[in-house]
């Protein structure tokens, strides 16, 4: 889909054209759902995605760059996810650098970890156990396939912070997956 399509549909939707908004919904919903489903419990993902679209419909006039609708609605969804976890009283604070679970990225991986392919369910579980700040970066970059620059815009943090969170997120995943494999073997 070209940038001109986005611009046209956003402009029409802003005028109240629901068919144009439907096109935007169809074009962005699947990937948005994939990202949100890895940030909240799966039964809540659809509700948060729907609410993100409702909010975007109400605030389309605030969208500065029509072609950036995809990034904008992700930012809305991430804020809704954060609201959810705040209500659940789950800390979104980052663990400190001295956190024993934060393995350095260049630490040698347990040899046995790479011998078999992980099951998707195990990987999803490991992702769900990441602190939210790491999970946001990992999900948007690796699962949603967004470049680091776009992730930094969506999360409103510097690019270096995103890279650091990705690195620490990967290290934690490596550790979690090793632990999961020990349990399942």
């Amino acid at each position: 889909m070209s940038a001109s399509d986005w611009i046209r549909w956003v402009a029409l939707a802003r005028e109240g054209d629901k068919d144009a908004f439907h096109r935007l919904y169809c074009a962005t919903r699947p990937r948005l759902h994939n990202a949100v489903a890895h940030l909240v419990p799966s039964d809540l993902a659809s509700e948060i995605v729907q609410r993100a679209f409702v909010r975007s419909w109400e605030h389309l006039s605030d969208l500065a760059e029509d072609a950036a609708f995809g990034g904008w609605i992700r930012r809305i969804a991430v804020n809704l996810v954060r609201d959810h976890w705040r209500r659940e009283k789950v800390s979104v604070e980052l663990p400190g650098d001295d956190d024993p679970h934060a393995l350095a990225d260049d630490q040698p991986d347990p040899e046995s970890l790479w011998e078999t392919r992980w099951e998707a369910a195990q990987l999803r579980q490991a992702i769900s156990e990441l602190p939210l700040a790491f999970r946001e970066a990992v999900v948007l970059h690796y699962l949603d396939d967004l470049p680091v620059e776009e992730v930094s815009r969506i999360l409103d943090v510097p690019k270096g912070t995103v890279l650091s969170r990705l690195s620490r997120g990967r290290a934690r995943l490596r550790l979690s997956l090793a632990a999961l494999r020990e349990v399942t073997q």
Binding site: R14, P30, N34, A45, S46, Q50, V54, I127, R170, L173
Partner: protein
């Protein structure tokens, strides 16, 4: 030379996506209950118009009041100036009849 991809990274990238289900009817229903910014603006337009008209009337009334006040000040100032001038003129004509050419004949006639 290509660096080997981090196994965690490649596993993440190959994770099958959770696409969920398209529920446009539900979203459409939610959108119908809420209104877009422009339609809300359209609905609020008469209220905005009334507020605008009221503000304009208040502004015009305030301006008119200010002008009235200014006019009365000018009038009172003008009256005071006129009275002062008349008094000064009378004093001057009595003490210096040169100023009033009729003052001397009048004074002689009244002797």
């Amino acid at each position: 030379m290509n660096t080997p991809l981090d196994p965690v990274e490649s596993a993440l990238r190959s994770l099958p996506p959770l696409l969920g289900e398209n529920d446009w009817p539900d979203l459409r229903e939610r959108l119908s209950r809420r209104r877009s910014f422009r339609s809300r603006l359209r609905l609020a337009a008469p209220t905005f118009r009334w507020v605008g008209v009221c503000l304009a009337v208040l502004l015009a009334f305030g301006f008119w009041q200010a002008m009235q006040g200014r006019r009365s000040v000018v009038a009172s100032e003008s009256g005071a100036e006129l009275r002062t001038w008349l008094a000064a003129h009378q004093d001057a004509t009595i003490s210096e009849n040169v100023i009033d050419p009729w003052a001397e004949p009048v004074a002689e006639a009244t002797k």
